[in-house]
Amino acid sequence: MAQDRRTFLKLSGLGLLTYSVGGASLLMTPAQARAKKVPLTVLTPDEARTLEAFGETLHPGASEAGLVHFVDHQLSLDPDDCMSLVKYFVNDPPFINFYRAGFKSLQDYSKAKYSVSFVALKDADRIELVKTISRDNPKEWPFPPPAPLFYMVVRNDTTDVLYGTIDGFRRLGVPYMPHIVPPERW
């Protein structure tokens, strides 16, 4: 469907991704994709729940902004085309292995320390746990990647989805000043 420039800029500013729904490609923001429950392509439902809970602790509003659909989309791309910062800090693609191991360690560590999964933790305990893993790799953290690296990468994903678009800049009062507005996917 053809778009006029005004509509195109508005859509781009929202940080649209291309989602496949019922065989058709639709332009949506990650937030819209989340609201419409667009099926995930890489992350499992359990992983999505963990990411949403972790992301919401890292930055309130990240889950509603579509963190899970943003990360799922990046992980569905060829590693060279991936636009998550994971690409800079993790040597071995496919990057889903990094996230998958991180989710497993996060859950196991939570169970070891609090006897429940991270998703089931109270807010105060989530904050305490994240504070710990942001600084050090606790001895109960069972697998690589190291906890601080996992924290850093997912934290960057949350800030990308919240502040990485024209809308995100606007929320901070930072002028975007584009030479070339990014196209429809981001």
Binding site: N91, S134, G168, I180
Partner: protein
């Protein structure tokens, strides 16, 4: 195996060095083909987005890293036409006179086989072609050379605030030497100070290969073939002359590009890896490795960013990513107070975006939750930043070897053993201390330092006058193979404190000139 038509020169890589070789040799009438591993970019692909910008860096090179310090190979390299120079920040100080004589002057590291006076003409020529903004007189630490062709870039409030901190401590600042146009130059547009350098500069204000040397190369008939990953340099039966390169095309088929001369300029990591993977019966330890030093003396700049938070709007979103001002005052060993040999410098007042590697969010990695949200609101207009680069001493044990792991083409990956030298760490420690003092003197509400990280990977195929103790000669030519030249930071015997891209350009300019002048002997 399919064979392409022979060319005079095949160049591996289209970045800072490869593009200069291509431009200068095509200009001399040579049939030039550039093989670029990544995709083709044009200015229209350089979207202003901190997220889209990450396409300009790929998921390669993949590494096994064994040392204490990550070299951040993917952050420090590029993917596609223009290589890392497509997204670099354009801070272009010259190496200094003593950088070429480190061992003679300081007793550690290596000497270059050339002196500053041997490269000065190339610096001046590249500067004229590219257009550097700055003020040579105010930059009192600068070695001799022609004045900059363009006046300094604009200084916004962030720069003024930090400069006041330097000045209150008795430290001088100068306009930053930067390959960003402060005025229109040779048909290219001037910078509009929107801070999108990391995403590539589609208006051509920042010196990138698309805007300058690749454009010149293709205008003179050079062919730039993308999605063509060179796996090996091929040689004749005696192993003394290169016959061309083997590469994988876009479809994954193996092809051979015959050439009279081969230039490998594929980034420090990939240049070394390509030569090591080019082993054959005549050179079982890799091509050009009779010295046993191929891959050794790997270096990087120990880098740290100092941050300061002001209460007022300091226009931190305006300017070039690389900064507005520069200082080298009281950063040298020559001054007795300094604990380590080598030099440092400050790149002052970086243009900031909310996210990415030079973003507001990453400046305070320990913050999360509502604290992060509050910080982002305050930092959006009040965060100031400046980067210190320090010199890393060349140490033989810092090296790149081949891993037992292989890439998708079956070629062995790089295994990196890298620890910042003790001197580099001492310089970094001094920068941490100075950065805090300077920002406090500037009147910040809060001041802190970012983590140590590595910028600008260099060394590994160091040049020298003796074939027993170096890999290439003073022109970047392999001692062992007369028609193979190397371009890029891998040939540096020392890294200086200075950002490498200008010197990479100047060395490539100098080597290309040597090749053209001695073509019959080289290409015989």
């Amino acid at each position: 195996m399919q064979y392409d038509e022979e060319v005079d020169v095949v160049i591996v890589g289209s970045g800072a060095a490869g593009s200069v070789f291509a431009a200068k040799l095509a200009q001399k009438g040579k049939r030039v083909k550039v093989l670029e591993s990544g995709p083709a970019w044009t200015e229209k692909d350089l979207y202003s987005s901190p997220i889209w910008a990450r396409r300009l860096r790929g998921a390669s090179p993949q590494l096994d890293e064994k040392g204490k310090q990550h070299i951040y190979a993917r952050l420090n390299s590029g993917r596609g036409t223009g290589g890392a120079a497509l997204h670099h920040y354009g801070v272009w100080p010259r190496f200094q006179v003593e950088d070429f004589k480190r061992k003679s002057l300081m007793g550690t590291g290596l000497d270059w086989p050339i002196e500053y006076k041997d490269i000065r003409m190339a610096y001046d020529a590249v500067q004229e072609e590219v257009g550097i903004s700055g003020d040579a007189k105010a930059e009192v630490w600068r070695p001799p050379g022609a004045p900059y062709p363009l006046p300094p870039v604009h200084v916004f409030k962030q720069g003024e605030k930090i400069a006041a901190g330097f000045e209150s401590l008795g430290l001088r600042v100068s306009p930053i030497p930067i390959a960003v146009l402060s005025r229109p130059y040779k048909g290219r547009n001037a910078c509009v100070y929107d801070g999108w350098c990391d995403a590539g500069c589609p208006i051509g204000a920042l010196a990138n290969p698309l805007a300058i040397y690749l454009a010149e190369a293709t205008k003179n008939g050079a062919v730039v073939q993308t999605d063509s990953h060179v796996t090996r340099v091929l040689t004749d039966k005696k192993g003394k002359r290169a016959s061309g390169v083997e590469y994988k095309d876009k479809g994954g088929a193996t092809r051979v590009q015959p050439a009279k001369v081969v230039v490998v300029a594929a980034s420090t990591v990939e240049t070394i890896r390509t030569l090591l993977n080019s082993s054959a019966d005549q050179h079982p330890a890799g091509l050009g490795n009779s010295s046993g030093l191929l891959g050794h003396y790997l270096m990087a700049h120990p880098a740290v960013v100092a941050y300061g938070l002001f209460d007022d709007d300091i226009q931190n979103y305006l300017g070039a990513s690389g900064g507005q001002l520069f200082s080298q005052d009281k950063t040298a060993k020559a001054e007795k107070a300094h604990p380590a040999s080598g030099r440092r410098h400050w790149e002052i007042a970086l243009a900031l975006k909310p996210v990415d590697i030079q973003g507001l969010a990453i400046s305070r990695p320990e913050l999360f939750g509502v604290d992060l949200e509050r910080f982002m609101q305050r930092a959006a207009r009040g965060l100031a930043a400046m980067t210190s680069l320090s010199e890393d001493e060349p140490v033989k044990q810092n090296r790149l070897v081949l891993s037992s792991k292989k890439d998708k083409y079956g070629m062995r990956l790089a295994e990196v053993h890298y620890n910042i030298s003790p001197n580099g760490l001492a310089l970094y420690a001094q920068s941490k201390q100075d950065g805090m003092q300077i920002f406090k003197a500037a009147g910040t509400r809060e001041t802190w330092m970012g983590p140590l990280h590595a910028q600008h990977i260099a060394g590994g195929t160091v040049m020298g006058s003796d074939a027993k103790s170096s890999v290439t000669d003073a022109n970047g030519r392999l001692h062992d193979v007369a028609n193979v030249f190397l371009g890029g930071g891998s040939v540096f015997p020392t890294l200086s404190h200075a950002n490498s891209t200008y010197t990479i350009h100047a060395l490539a300019w100098r080597s290309a000139r040597y090749m053209a002048e001695n073509w019959n002997e080289i290409a015989k």
